[in-house]
């Protein structure tokens, strides 16, 4: 009796593993994209295999960054977290090459690039000194020098890096 139960469990785990491999290999098969030429509204230029925006989202064809920011603003009803950093950059005229350089194989962007345009980390920490529960841009561990990209991801969902050890409930744009 016990043994049969165990076998069933193992079978279930194996099935799960096979499923996982199948799903993740599907994700890897993303096609090459002409990202830098994509215009607002032409989501399918990059997001080829699925719809990027929900049906109810207003048409983005005629929108500029200001129009996006009308809804995707920080504040109580914040949508800022749902607006990818790479899109904000692109729509503000900062294209791929501005950060990654002209290359066929773009690599990770060092934090110095961010600071070159956005200004010193010390100034940023000063600006956010009253954020609750504590200033997200300085810490006893790394001072003001924790890499921007650890939280503010450009091509993936942003992340609250502090949250791996702390209960700081930040909304990260």
């Amino acid at each position: 009796m016990e043994k049969r139960k165990k076998n069933l469990k193992i079978a279930a785990v194996l099935f799960g593993a096979v499923l996982l491999v199948a799903v993740s290999s599907g994700l890897w098969a993303a096609p090459k994209l002409a990202v830098s030429k994509a215009k607002p509204g032409d989501c399918a230029a990059c997001h080829v295999d699925k719809k990027a925006l929900p049906e109810t989202h207003p048409d983005t064809k005629t929108m500029d960054i200001k129009a996006c920011r009308a809804c995707h603003a920080s504040g109580e009803m914040s949508l800022s977290g749902k607006f990818p950093g790479s899109h904000a950059h692109m729509l503000s005229g900062v294209n791929c090459a501005a950060c990654h350089g002209k290359t066929k194989q773009p690599e990770e962007v060092p934090m110095e690039k961010c600071v070159a345009c956005h200004g010193s980390t010390a100034k940023l920490a000063e600006k956010t000194k009253d954020v609750k529960p504590t200033n997200p841009h300085t810490s006893p561990h790394y001072g003001t020098e924790l890499d921007c990209n650890l939280c503010h991801k450009q091509h993936a969902k942003s992340e609250n890096y502090c949250a791996q050890c702390h209960k700081f409930d930040y909304k990260v744009p």
Binding site: K6, I10, P133, H141, A163, C165, H166
Partner: protein, 517 residues
């Protein structure tokens, strides 16, 4: 009866399935280790790559206190040095450490009128370690701790503000950094390493050591651009170490499978005070290349942590000052179950035996007198510490039998009056008072994994030892990845001394090795 309860919980089917992967990994390890145990060094020989991607004299793994100290000393001894870190940031546990550096006979101790000696520190380490410490390693730390502390001051520019006390030491000898964090030291180590030309490579993970036909470590396979914890990320590369590899990769408190193999109680029901990268794969990679490990089941738990907080949290700063002033009860019975002033190990073991979190509590007199305001405020804000107007409210909030609990408080109060605990032998401090003054404060306690005393066997020159009790040529280790320095129990503040002392020794000796190519 209680023991049976715990056993049932830790070998549930769910846990069995979860650890099956870990057990398989260890089985693989054992099979690769067996030939080495019978002294066949050639068993570790690997197919070496036709082309090495990068070459250095010395390659260091890990960017905490130990790894950076090793890298700096190796570089200053004339070696070309690269330092790998698998995480996206430097510092590991060192950068979230509390910044207490143990050293005997220092200037700060003299200023505070503290008489101390290396001999006394050695004795304290051995007694706490239940004499399981490898004596020459403990002696090395005790003898060199003062020099290591002074090196961080004079060479790195670190500042220490305050002399602190930790349980188990005979005197105050923990030198608290100016910002109460290990970051004061590890960030200055990093700055110095960069300044003198150590190449730092973040997101670079050690996969496998490579040995030649004599079992000498000659380099390693790594993943560059690795994104923790996803092992499908990163590009393979081969790095040649002409002289030596130094492992400063830390402990394995966050490695549930590995810690559970050694102490089956430490299931995923227990969190850790460590950073998430404190896993054991670098240690295991060394074992696969013939390194011996020791005392791996001596894993230190903190009995003062809350299951409602992540990491270390505020509750330890609430719990520790309250012992001897308030009571710790089992919410299932409403009764005390272990002496509140017992040591870390005794208390953690007692709570694990309950099988459910305990509750520590104090009244307004005790809390206001003993707990620092920022810790109380932080814990109240995040909900891990709770405040109650009456004992009835407190009991109800934790589902305790109200009458049994109130009877127990009355009993404790009678002990507090006479400063003597007839039931469990808790120390009751002379300024303690009966627990009567509302509001009352309480928090739940559930142990977290804090430090792994065991690890690779090293000698006093920081060389990693093989199963033939001879050093493995070209392999050094320092810090929490090693075992034997602390024996059964690491005393608070000795970790920093251990890491800097052995990190420096490893770095100097690695640079002195004869290059193999």
């Amino acid at each position: 009866m209680k023991e049976d309860d715990v056993e049932k919980k830790s070998i549930s089917r769910r846990n069995f399935l979860k650890t099956a992967g870990g057990a398989a990994a260890v089985a693989g390890l054992a099979s690769s280790g067996i030939p080495l145990m019978v002294g066949d060094a050639q068993a570790a020989c690997d197919t070496l790559p036709k082309k090495w991607d990068e070459t250095y004299d010395v390659v260091v793994v890990g960017s905490g206190f130990a790894g950076l100290a090793a890298a700096i000393e190796a570089k200053n001894a004339g070696a070309s040095v690269a330092l790998l870190e698998k995480m996206p940031v430097h510092g590991g546990n060192s950068v979230i450490n509390g910044g207490d550096f143990c050293a005997p006979g220092t200037k700060l101790q003299k200023e505070n009128g503290v008489e101390d000696s290396a001999e006394l520190l050695y004795k304290d380490m051995m007694r706490a370690g239940m004499y399981l410490n490898h004596p020459e390693l403990a002696r090395t730390v005790a003898d060199n701790a003062k020099g290591a502390l002074e090196w961080t001051e004079s060479y790195l520019g670190c500042k220490y503000a305050k002399l602190n006390f930790h349980g188990g030491h005979s005197v105050k000898r923990a030198h608290g950094t100016i910002n109460q964090s290990g970051s004061e030291v590890v960030n200055k180590e990093l700055a110095k390493a960069k300044e003198i030309g150590v190449k730092i490579m973040l997101r670079t993970k050690l996969v496998k050591f490579l040995s030649d036909k004599n079992g000498r470590i000659v380099g390693m396979e790594v993943l560059k651009g690795y994104r923790f914890p996803d092992d499908k990320t990163g590009k393979p590369a081969f790095i040649k170490a002409r002289k030596a590899v130094i492992l400063g990769s830390g402990g394995f408190s966050y490695d549930v499978a590995l810690r559970q193999v050694h102490d089956p109680r430490l299931t995923d029901k227990l969190g850790s005070t460590n950073h998430p990268g404190a896993t054991g794969e670098a240690l295991l990679a060394a074992c696969k290349s013939g390194a011996a490990d020791v005392q791996m089941d001596w894993i230190q738990l903190g009995p003062w942590t809350s299951p409602e907080e992540k990491g270390f949290g505020y509750v330890p700063l609430f719990c520790e000052p309250l012992v001897g002033y308030g009571l710790m009860v089992n919410p299932k019975t409403g009764k005390r179950f272990f002496k509140e002033t017992g040591n870390r190990k005794e208390r953690a073991d007692a709570i694990l035996l309950l099988g459910n979190p305990a509750v520590i509590m104090g009244d307004s007199y005790a809390v206001n007198k003993q707990v620092v305001p920022h810790a109380l405020k932080g814990g109240l804000e995040n909900g891990a510490i709770k405040k109650f107007d009456s004992l009835d409210d407190l009991a109800k909030a934790y589902d305790m039998p109200v009458d049994a609990f109130k009877e127990q408080v009355a009993r404790w109060n009678s002990f507090a009056e006479k400063r003597k605990d007839d039931d469990l032998g808790c120390m009751i401090f002379k300024d303690a008072k009966p627990t009567v003054e509302a509001p009352f404060y309480a928090a739940r306690l559930w142990p977290k994994v804090h430090h792994t005393m065991g690890g690779l066997v090293i000698n006093k020159d920081a060389q990693v030892m093989g199963f033939d009790f001879k050093p493995i040529k070209g392999l050094y280790a320092a810090g929490e990845v090693t075992g034997g320095v602390h024996g059964a129990v690491r005393l608070g503040s000795v970790a920093m001394a251990d890491c800097i002392v052995f990190g420096r020794i490893a770095g100097k000796n690695a640079a002195r090795e004869k290059a193999w190519s």
